[in-house]
């Protein structure tokens, strides 16, 4: 039997911080505190270790190694001092999966109403996968998917089912 379209791996050890603010006013301070440029609409900036993703016109998500979380929470809170904003640790609220392999785009295309194959690098798409909310972007060799913690088992199951060997989307 052929191989799975992609390997589905739960990613642990990531810290995540939700930031809400007027990005026109607070963008520079946040960028400095995050150590990354403010992404364009639906974009994501990364230095390979940290990723700063655009979630909404007044919301960003900073993804970083767990070890850097506490310091980053302090830095970002400082950056918003005197500004109307919100900094919240959401690390534990999320479940992260890597979908890696030659058929990774097929796996995404079976679950999300998005043009997975055409999704550019540096673009984060918030959408749904089957019946649960997800954010998806390209990483080396495939995609990274963020879902909710409570539905992690469901997300893992539908990703694994979508990746079963021999079920690629190429015409036959």
């Amino acid at each position: 039997m052929a191989e799975a379209l992609a390997t589905i791996t739960r990613v642990a050890g990531l810290g995540m911080i939700t930031l809400r603010a007027d990005l026109d006013r607070a963008g520079d301070a946040l960028a400095e505190a995050a150590g990354l440029a403010i992404p364009d609409t639906t974009g994501a900036t990364t230095d390979g270790s940290r990723t700063l993703a655009w979630m909404s016109p007044d919301e960003l998500l900073l993804i970083l190694p767990q070890a850097e979380l506490a310091q980053a929470l302090d830095d970002l809170t400082q950056a918003l001092m005197g500004e109307h904003g919100l900094v919240a640790d959401v690390s534990d609220a999320r479940a992260v999966f890597d979908v890696i392999g030659a058929g990774a785009a097929d796996v995404v295309a079976k679950l999300a109403p998005v043009d997975a194959a055409a999704m550019p690098q540096g673009h984060l798409r918030r959408t749904r996968m089957a019946q649960t909310a997800a954010a998806i972007w390209r990483v080396d060799g495939g995609f990274r998917v963020i879902g909710f913690r409570s539905t992690a088992d469901y997300l893992a199951l539908i990703l694994t089912n979508a990746a079963i060997p021999g079920s690629g989307l190429a015409p036959r």
Binding site: T41, T42, S56, R125, R126, T127, R128
Partner: protein, 115 residues
């Protein structure tokens, strides 16, 4: 399947990513409203055949509520726009008039602005 472009994030989302919110541009009637005004605010809807303004939330996306101008009979979409406006903006009005020359707004656009 309606497909609408979220004016906040530019995503061309299909209906399953959106949450509908009914008629747009309702003016809230507060504690001082009369019975008739309050009844109209809560229950009276235009239910138009033709040009219609409605609320959608990009629920599986950026989470923002936006407004759509579309034709309920043909499903033509004249445009989508941000929710923070009491009336459709000028470019939407223009797009509707282009497609539906007979249509006239049922509000009075201010000079130089649609609001």
């Amino acid at each position: 399947m309606l497909i609408l472009t979220c004016p906040y994030c530019g995503v061309n989302a299909e209906e399953t990513e959106l949450h509908p919110g009914g008629e747009a541009h309702l003016a809230r009637i507060g504690p001082n409203g009369t019975d008739d005004e309050f009844e109209a605010y809560l229950f009276a809807r235009k239910n138009a055949k033709g040009v219609h303004f409605e609320r959608w939330r990009h629920a599986y996306g950026c989470g923002k509520w936006f407004l759509a101008a579309r034709c309920t009979a043909t499903l033509q979409v004249f445009g989508t726009y941000r929710a923070q406006t009491p009336h459709p903006p000028a470019d939407i009005v223009e797009a509707i008039r282009k497609a539906r020359p007979d249509w006239t707004p049922d509000w009075t656009p201010a000079e130089g602005t649609a609001e």
